[in-house]
């Protein structure tokens, strides 16, 4: 009873307290809801609702450090935040007014959203007949996806109660913040002219400033809709002669249909100045003139940062000019390669004999250079086209196919037999063809150029694989430019000799010694055949080597018998030649057909301490805390073989690997292997050799193409800063 009396006595004070408390509750915000990564609440710009007037509420999301939520177009991945309102009778509600987003790169992808804290605004209207003194409760279900390395869908049921009054003040804590966000919301550009034009797989967004407008700085366009502009592709800003800013937007790879308008937000690094006010972001919404096609599919091809890292690690960051110069020198050096030198040097010596008019010779020199350059460009273009079509190929692809290796072995063998004097080409073909070439000397020269490239092709892969790999990591135009330089370099010595007859004084005088030289030069060609047969053996098996050698011997017999027939002996010799030729074909036929089979012999990948490469090798071995060294190699790659013999098989180097518990993996690219091509591409490389050291807890280290012992020791020394089990045991 006493307690009741006490309550009765204090009732006026109690009632006051209740009123105050409820009054506070009606204007105070419910305390924020905390999810795992976000603090969320509904906040109001004003302290009270005025009947018939709009009010701005905001969903406030405060993300944990490093986490982000998404804009209305989330970019490459993600999901926009949504708000579902449950509102009292008569209250009107608008859509979310999104502040300008920022780009959020994750790996090669780009998302659009917010980090830190964001206020997503919504405008609501209170009915005109709302009674002052009453309260309104606004409820909302908010859902958002919050991501860092992982994505978590989160959500909360939120509400806010506001009193109706004829007067309101800025809400103490959030009023000015909401007002500032609203003032900064992107609004349409007033004084600028904007138009958009489709240009193939690009959209050209032109923004023409009014007289005297200051430079807005870097611009970025955020499309309202997905499937319009590719978020991860670079937007390029230029300024044309008329002073208009041209923002080139790469079209989406998965272009959505009905692309009629270009609508979105443009942010400016220095801001747009309009009516004396500087705004950081504006909206544009203009019709699209012309049509747009879907962007190319290579947007996620190894990211520039990966490629740059790989290049920095190997110290091969070539400028374009340096790459072209090196290609030119490389082309010159090609003349000295064992496969090319015999053929081209004899061709040059024939110039010295000077049977032809100087003018004709000059034009022949140019025709030869044209043939060489065109063939290199065609070969590079073929590879680019196949890659664009999705083939997993790199430079050296021409030697990854057994039929091509067989064809080249036959070509070199026939050339060598010719130099040895076993037969004459004139005896092989009808005389009409010889007459035809005599009548078309320039066509003949162009074809000489083509032939020179064909015989050079096996040499470009082994000696120049790394440089070619660089060439193919560049944009197509640069790649083709490098190949043009390579062709010019290769054809230069012959073309110069043809152009300046005076220079030929420096060549030795023709004479009987030329016949001996010719015979001597057959031997580098035989050596090339030996090497090609070895490559074939690595691609197929020992059986293939035997078939190839038998076919070559029988082919030699055929050519010899044919020559005997041609110099006037009986028809029986012609029959012998034909039978021998057919036999050679029959013997080699299974190898030509066998291209699609799996290699029947285990290649040199897994030998000794070396394991064969599989896509999960690094992860499997690395999960044990061991460093992993991968040797990307191929039998036809001479640089690879030299590095293997001199460095990787060296006892000191092997001991150094063993001491640090390095797992050794060999990726053999002698035959086409999409898995290895992909692994190379992931490293930003298109050819072999590549040497990579995967270090626990650190980024992979790419070693230079030309290895020496010290390079390997230095690379291994970088492991010592990581306490690995092996080291602590020692």
């Amino acid at each position: 009873m006493d307690s009741l009396k006490t309550i009765a006595r204090v009732t006026p004070a109690f009632a006051l307290a209740v009123v105050l408390a409820s009054g506070m509750a009606s204007t105070a915000l419910a305390s924020p809801v905390k999810t795992e990564h976000v603090e969320a609440e509904l906040v109001s710009e004003r302290t009270a609702l005025i009947p018939g007037k709009p009010v701005t509420l905001a969903l406030r999301l405060k993300m944990a450090e490093g986490w982000h939520t998404y804009w209305r177009n989330p970019g490459d991945s993600g999901l926009p935040t949504t708000i579902a309102w449950k509102l009292p009778e008569g209250v009107g509600v608008g859509a979310i007014q999104w502040p300008a987003p920022r780009t959020l790169p994750t790996g090669p992808l780009v998302n659009y959203g917010y980090e830190g804290e964001v206020l997503l605004l919504t405008g609501l209207t209170v009915p005109r007949d709302a009674a002052p003194g009453s309260t309104y409760k606004f409820s909302a279900r908010a859902d958002w996806l919050v991501c860092k390395d992982v994505c978590i869908p989160e959500g909360a049921d939120l509400d806010i109660v506001l009193p109706v009054s004829d007067h309101s003040d800025p809400y103490p804590q959030w009023g000015s913040a909401i007002a500032a966000v609203r003032a900064a919301l992107p609004t349409p550009l007033q004084a600028w002219r904007v138009n958009a034009r489709g240009d193939g797989a690009r959209i050209a967004l032109a923004l023409t400033p009014p007289e005297g407008a200051p430079d807005p700085g870097p611009l970025y366009f955020f499309s309202y809709d997905e499937g319009r502009v590719e978020p991860s592709a670079k937007q390029v800003l230029t300024r044309d002669a008329s002073g208009a800013y041209q923002l080139t937007l790469p079209a989406a790879i998965q272009l959505a249909p009905d692309f009629k308008r270009v609508a979105g937000v443009v942010t400016a690094g220095k801001g747009f100045v309009e009516d004396g006010e500087r705004v950081a972001a504006v909206t544009v919404d203009v019709p699209l003139v012309g049509t747009v096609v879907a962007g190319a599919k290579s947007a996620l091809a190894p990211s520039p940062t990966d490629a740059a890292a790989a290049q920095a690690a190997s110290g091969s960051d070539l400028s374009l000019a340096a790459a072209v110069l090196l290609a030119l020198i490389g082309g010159l050096i090609l003349n000295l390669m064992p496969c090319v030198f015999p053929v081209l040097s004899l061709k040059a010596l024939h110039l010295a004999q000077g049977h032809t008019v100087a003018r004709v010779q000059r034009l022949q020199g140019i025709a030869f250079a044209l043939g060489v350059v065109a063939s290199f460009v065609a070969l590079a273009g073929l590879l680019l086209a196949l890659r664009a079509a999705g083939e997993q190929l790199g430079w050296g692809f021409q030697l990854q196919s057994p039929p091509v290796v067989i064809g080249l072995a036959v070509l070199f063998f026939v050339l060598a037999l010719n130099l040895s004097g076993v037969f004459e080409f004139t005896s092989l073909v009808p005389s009409s063809a010889g007459d035809w070439t005599a009548k078309n000397p320039y066509v003949d020269s162009v074809l000489s150029g083509v032939l020179a490239v064909v015989i050079a092709s096996p040499c470009t892969a082994p000696f120049m694989g790394a440089a070619m790999g660089f060439a193919f990591a560049q944009p197509a135009v640069v790649t083709l430019g490098i190949f043009v330089a390579l062709g010019l370099g290769m054809s230069l010595p012959y073309a110069l000799l043809a152009w300046f007859p005076g220079w030929r004084r420096w060549l030795p005088r023709p004479g009987a010694w030329m016949e001996r030289l010719k015979q001597a030069l057959a031997f580098p060609l035989y050596a090339t055949v030996a090497w090609l047969v070895w490559v074939l053996g690595a691609q197929l098996d020992n059986d293939a080597v035997v078939r190839m050698l038998i076919a070559l011997v029988v082919l030699a017999l055929a050519l010899w018998a044919w020559r005997v027939f041609k110099i006037g002996h009986g028809r029986a010799w012609a029959a012998v030649a034909s039978v021998a030729l057919v036999s050679a074909l029959v013997v080699v036929w299974p190898l030509l057909r066998g291209d699609k089979d799996e290699p029947s012999a285990v290649t040199s990948a897994a030998t000794g301490p070396w394991r064969a490469f599989t896509p999960t090798t690094v992860a499997d071995l690395g999960s044990g805390g061991h460093p992993v060294f991968i040797d990307f190699t191929a039998a036809w790659c001479v640089t690879c073989q030299v590095n293997k013999r001199l460095v990787l098989n060296n006892t000191e180097v092997r001991d150094a690997f063993a001491r640090r518990g390095v797992e050794l993996v060999r990726a053999d690219w002698t035959r086409r292997d999409p898995v290895i091509t992909q692994a190379l591409a992931a490293l930003g490389r298109q050819g072999v050799p590549v040497y990579v050291l995967y270090r626990p807890g650190k980024s992979p280290l790419v070693l230079p193409e030309i290895l020496n012992k010290q390079t390997v020791f230095d690379a291994l020394a970088t492991l010592d800063s990581v306490p690995s089990q092996t080291v602590t045991l020692k």
Partner: protein, 198 residues
């Protein structure tokens, strides 16, 4: 000396060899390890319809479609009609969400999933080649090796498993049309989901 015209046949043979060594297709071929350690190539299934499903068990959007039974249902529905369903996980092996073939296999078994194979793309190279952005991100390849649908699995962009049932499923629509010999109406949509962990 030599008259190159006489080498023309050999030159042509060389060019033909190079071209034959690599016939072009629109859906790039790949060779990836499945949950049992076996190498699976896209070209193994030339002549059949193939669905490529980019997946990552750690992603809530993927879980939406597995927890609701939606993805397993599609795998069984179309597997029964001789469509080859390949789930590809391009999570880079440097990411802590990376799943080894064994882990991927166990997860698929636990979910009672029925893809033809669950493939591990630990270097992410296949994902990059295809331009896979999200999990899930779906590709439908026809028997000629052309991609006939690429994009989202359906039109309900959420992580709510209940949405999977009521959504318009783009993969089902594309396969239904293609198997009936009709052109695919919606061949490309913007995918939604978690980013692929490159």
């Amino acid at each position: 000396m030599m008259h190159p015209i006489r080498f023309l046949p050999l030159v042509l043979a060389f060019a033909a060899g190079a071209v034959a060594a690599a016939s072009s297709t629109v859906a790039p071929d790949f060779a990836l390890t499945d949950a049992t350690g076996k190498t699976v190539k896209l070209s193994d299934y030339r002549g059949k319809y193939v669905v490529l499903e980019w997946t990552n068990p750690e992603c809530p959007f993927v879980r939406k479609h597995y927890d609701s039974g939606n993805m397993q249902g599609l795998q069984k529905e179309w597997g029964a009609r001789d469509v080859v369903w390949l789930a590809v996980n391009s999570t880079n092996q440097s990411s802590y969400e990376y799943k080894s073939p064994q882990q991927m296999g166990e997860w698929m078994r636990a979910k009672d999933a029925a893809p033809k194979a669950a493939l591990i793309d630990g270097t992410s190279a296949t994902g990059r080649t295809y331009g896979a952005k999200t999990t899930p991100h779906m590709f439908v390849v026809n028997p000629d090796g052309d991609v006939i649908y690429r994009g989202a699995i359906d039109d309900r962009r959420s992580t709510n498993p209940a949405d999977a049932k009521s959504a318009n499923n783009y993969v089902r629509a594309a396969l239904s049309e293609a198997l009936a010999g009709k052109p695919v109406t919606v061949a490309s949509t913007a995918p939604y989901g978690c980013s692929v962990k490159y």
